[in-house]
Assembly symmetry: C2
DNA sequence: TGCGATTTAATCGCGTGCGATTTATTTTAC
DNA sequence: GTAAAATAAATCGCACGCGATTAAATCGCA
């Protein structure tokens, strides 16, 4: 088996890739109205959930490392979305805190996710189940790395 | 409702983002052994399925546009994975064909997808169902754009 | 036939993701 | 107490994705 040619439609990886790109295209214009990019928005969600996290903590939450986060956070700092300061107790680490713009945006977050929800489908239970399945997949994939 | 703070875990978009990143991390070292990146691999899959497609055709298949594809295809051409030539019948379009390296790699494609399948899970029926759900989501998201 | 509208790639700029490396700080071992 | 190991962030380079624009070829229609 598997001797015949692969097709794009059969690839789980392509489904993910394509759905993720589509999600990004959907978010971009909405987030751009607030001066945000997609990963910047995710950083804010993480900080709204718990303010004052180390870069490493954000990396664990988002599955990213400092090579991605540091430049991203610097751009966010320049936009007053977050602020960054060295941890007094351990100068190796950097604490990221919500900046003024980042706090204000939390009020509009619910509206943003409602926009997306509407585009994703009307059956919320279905979407939640799908999300769980995708999370499980991500967990398995990360474990195999 | 929805007055409380969002969490990353609740976001479908983050599940997708995270699973897609995880898939990329899994593919990268495998594909790197063949001198490929992840989107380059997807282009090859599309061409193995049907050789000699216009840039636009590939764009439709992959949900990408020339601003992404043109540089990507040029890199692939430099690596002899594909070749590009203007369409004689309509000089606006460019035909992309498998190059020597691109043809050879088809033999190893089955092995590549087996590696991924193993990491994604052992229940193939589950994975296929998940893939379908994600494809439907991508379709809905693209339709809302 | 000619000329504006359309189609197709290409170009440019910016913000990720990440492999690889570097720098700074803290911990550990002796 | 100090040098080696470990840890945290930053830096660098490269390949995407995509919004915006441009250039070239073709089409459509008066």
């Amino acid at each position: 088996m598997l001797d015949r040619a692969l097709t794009l439609d059969e690839l789980l990886c392509f489904a993910l890739y394509s759905a993720n790109n589509a999600m990004g295209r959907l978010y971009r214009p909405i987030l751009a109205q607030h001066g945000l990019t997609y990963p910047q928005y995710l950083v804010l969600v993480a900080l709204w959930q718990r303010d004052g996290q180390k870069v490493n903590d954000l990396g664990t939450a988002l599955n990213l490392e400092s090579n991605t986060l540091t430049p991203l956070l610097k751009r966010m700092e320049a936009a007053e979305l977050v602020s960054r300061r060295r941890n007094i107790e351990d100068e190796r680490s950097v604490i990221v805190t919500l900046g003024p713009k980042g706090q204000v945006l939390q009020q509009e977050a619910a509206g943003i996710s409602r926009c997306i929800l509407a585009a994703a489908g009307d059956d919320v239970a279905d979407l939640i189940e799908l999300r769980c399945k995708i999370q499980e997949l991500a967990t398995r994939l990360n474990a195999s790395g």
